[in-house]
């Protein structure tokens, strides 16, 4: 195998890994503050991407065609919309079930995901067909010895990694981050210390969902196509990544995202006769990792009541 092809696989893996990590971070944040799995995450992401797409259609109609302006407006609109949706889901569907068994929360968000997916398919104009997402980034590329480094991939990866770093700084350096970590550690004590629990929970869900919307736009820009089902697989991969890494841990989510991307790339590289099996391979390895480390590679620190 020549170096160029290898570099191509590597670039592809880094790109996918960043995208998956952005989705997985949301799962891990939600699990941190509320100990719940919000399975509609992937479909909220899809909804955000469609919101961004709608904004793009509006901008085209309004005659604003500078790609950078378009990109910034799409990102702002899509992330704001998704953040609002995430906070609303937390308030009206997740928090009311706080006392119920965790299975119920998982189920209600699974069903919400299905509802969002179906609603987009049925009610978005021509929603059951894939939409061509515009390529707004410069399509220049540098030839590095048989390997084409595309400028848009570089921009996307840098922006995605920047967002994760920013999120990490926010969690560790700001008052909001402190409040989120406090609620994650001990809800009761955090409340008695004067932390506004509701605001922190809603903010966390908003931030996590907004980050996922970024991943959705990234996905759209990279593949130049979005469809109503994109959230299911992305959400599933993000969930698996967060679980493989270990829930409630930001680094675990990032690690899991890159592991999953690596598995997919390795799967398609090593099984050239059957690159269609790459998802089968990746999910099989996820199941194997779960068997080996039942609470993820970086396990959450819990103790069972005896």
């Amino acid at each position: 195998m020549d170096i160029g092809l290898l570099a191509q696989y590597l670039a592809n893996g880094i790109m996918l890994g960043t995208m998956y990590a952005l989705v997985a971070v949301g799962f891990t944040l939600f699990f941190g503050v509320l100990d719940v799995i919000k399975f509609s995450h992937g479909d909220v992401l899809m909804l955000g991407t469609f919101a961004g797409f709608t904004v793009w259609l509006g901008l085209e109609a309004a005659g604003i065609s500078n790609p950078w302006v378009q990109l910034v407006l799409i990102l702002i609109a899509s992330m704001a919309f998704t953040a609002a949706a995430g906070a609303a889901i937390a308030k009206y569907l997740v928090l009311p079930l706080k006392k119920a068994p965790p299975l119920n929360t998982l189920l209600i968000t699974l069903m919400l995901g299905t509802a969002i997916r179906e609603a987009v398919r049925l009610f978005y104009p021509n929603g059951s067909n894939p939409k061509a997402f515009p390529s707004l980034l410069p399509d220049a590329s540098v030839d590095l010895g048989g390997f084409l480094l595309r400028a848009d991939s570089v921009i996307l990866v840098v922006a995605g990694l920047g967002l994760i770093t920013g999120l990490n700084l926010m969690l560790n350096r700001t008052r909001l981050g402190l409040a989120i970590r406090a609620v994650a550690q001990d809800e009761e004590t955090a409340r008695t210390m004067g932390i506004n629990y509701m605001v922190v929970v809603l903010a966390t869900f908003g931030i996590g969902s907004g980050v996922a919307a970024f991943a959705g736009i990234m996905n759209g820009l990279y593949y130049n196509e979005i469809n109503f089902g994109m959230g299911l697989l992305l959400g599933l991969i993000g969930f698996s990544a967060a679980i493989v890494g270990g829930l409630g841990n930001l680094y675990g989510a990032i690690l899991g995202g890159f592991i999953f991307a690596g598995l997919q790339v390795v799967g398609s590289a090593l099984l050239p006769f059957a690159s269609a099996y790459k998802d089968v391979f990746a999910f099989a390895v996820v199941i194997a990792i779960m068997a080996w480390k039942p609470t993820g590679l970086i396990p959450e620190r819990t103790s069972d009541r005896v």
Partner: protein, 392 residues
């Protein structure tokens, strides 16, 4: 916990409310199955809603429940006779029989999932995958000339069980969300595998041979009292009997010490382990037996519709099966019957809803989870002495 208590009705209940319920439900389902116009279906649904409200407010519902728990065996047999009677009255109608059989098979699948979700508290989001494993087994073995089709049915269950065996190790080691991801990953893996695998027909799917018993070819239309019946009649009768057998088996298991172990593991694993219950063994038993039932249901379903493709066994279908269990009420087998009828019949009957069915049931399950988390027909308190009266 009031989950386990000795059920002592204040005074012995007669069998009359139960029998009347069976009669009403039989006539009602007959009417619903042959109703063709939208307004007829709407009227029947409104009638059902009215009866439910009436039953809740006048206490009739409780009378039926008490009557049922006092005379469970004869009334269950009566329900089987009721189903068979409906099948006989519809014997020459293809479509109603197909719907009825599909409902029965989904009910069967919900029984399997019930063992996992309802009794043991394990999650399985790959129900459609195990169902599909049974159907694909039926397709493969059905083409083998010498292989008896009745054994194909069993083989479907065994293959689903064997696939479950692959997951057993991660399943018993993980709990909660972590177990959920194992089954979800498996469900997606299974469907993707079917789509890319050329031997199993790829995305186009496979033809399935029909069921044959010695001297009883299910593809031939039987003649009843000089009238030629639909060939679905065979499947409907066979499915009804199969459901009755497996229903009995599941109820027996629930009532036995196995069921007690499952309940104990669901309610509190630590406490169960302290009392010497092997959590692993209980979970493995529940997972495998549930998958066995799913596989059998899938095999017969494949034989009946005679053509299967990966798109019938997606993650959304798994969720649809979970919503049957949840709508009916966790651990409530009869609830599963009602929910299966709602989930299967409603979209078929109201063609406008067909397109919206996933959306509709997703919203319905969300409402149930928010406002009636026990389901439509919540599980009854455990009855240690079925049919026992006061002072006995």
């Amino acid at each position: 916990m009031t989950d386990i208590a000795i059920d002592t009705p204040s005074r012995p209940k007669g069998w009359l409310p139960g029998v009347l319920t069976i009669l009403f439900v039989a006539v009602y389902s007959w009417a619903l199955l042959i109703a063709e116009e939208d307004w007829e279906v709407m009227g029947l649904i409104a009638l059902a809603a009215a009866v439910v409200v009436l039953g809740l407010f006048t206490g009739l519902g409780n009378k039926v429940k008490a009557s049922w728990s006092a005379h469970e065996k004869p009334l269950n047999l009566g329900a089987l006779i009721g189903v068979l009677a409906v099948i006989f009255t519809l014997s020459d109608q293809h479509f109603p029989l197909l719907m009825l059989t599909t409902t029965l098979l989904y009910f069967l699948a919900s029984l399997g999932l019930n063992i996992q979700f309802g009794y043991t508290g394990m999650v399985n989001f790959a129900g459609a995958a195990f169902f599909g494993a049974g159907a694909y087994t039926a397709a493969v073995f059905g083409n083998v000339e010498w292989f008896p089709p009745l054994l194909t049915l069993v083989a479907g269950g065994l293959v689903a069980m064997a696939l479950g065996l692959l997951l057993v190790y991660p399943i018993v080691r993980t709990t909660g969300h972590y177990a959920a991801v194992v089954t979800i990953a498996f469900g997606v893996l299974f469907k993707t595998f079917l789509e890319v695998n050329e031997i199993l027909g790829g995305p186009q799917g496979l033809m399935v041979n029909s069921m044959r018993l010695p001297g009883w070819d299910f593809n031939n239309s039987p003649t009843l009292f000089g009238m030629e019946a639909s060939f679905y009649f065979n499947y409907a009768v066979f499915a009804a009997i199969l459901v009755a057998v497996i229903f009995t088996f599941v109820r027996r298991m629930e009532r036995s010490w196995l069921g007690l172990h499952m309940d104990a593991v669901r309610l509190d694993e630590t406490a169960a382990a302290c009392f010497g219950i092997s959590i692993h063994r209980t979970k493995i038993l529940a997972f495998l037996s549930g998958n066995l039932i799913l596989g059998i249901a899938g095999a017969l379903y494949g034989m009946m519709i005679s053509f299967i493709a990966p798109t019938s066994f997606t993650f959304s279908d798994s969720l649809l099966m979970v919503s049957i269990v949840l709508l009916g009420g966790m651990g409530s087998p009869w609830g599963g019957a009602i929910a299966a009828a709602i989930v299967v019949l409603l979209p078929e009957k109201l063609q406008i809803l067909q397109e919206y069915r996933f959306l509709l049931f997703a919203v319905l399950v969300m409402l149930v989870l928010l406002f009636r988390p026990d389901g439509l027909l919540p599980r009854q308190i455990r009855n240690y002495f079925p049919g026992a009266r006061n002072g006995q």
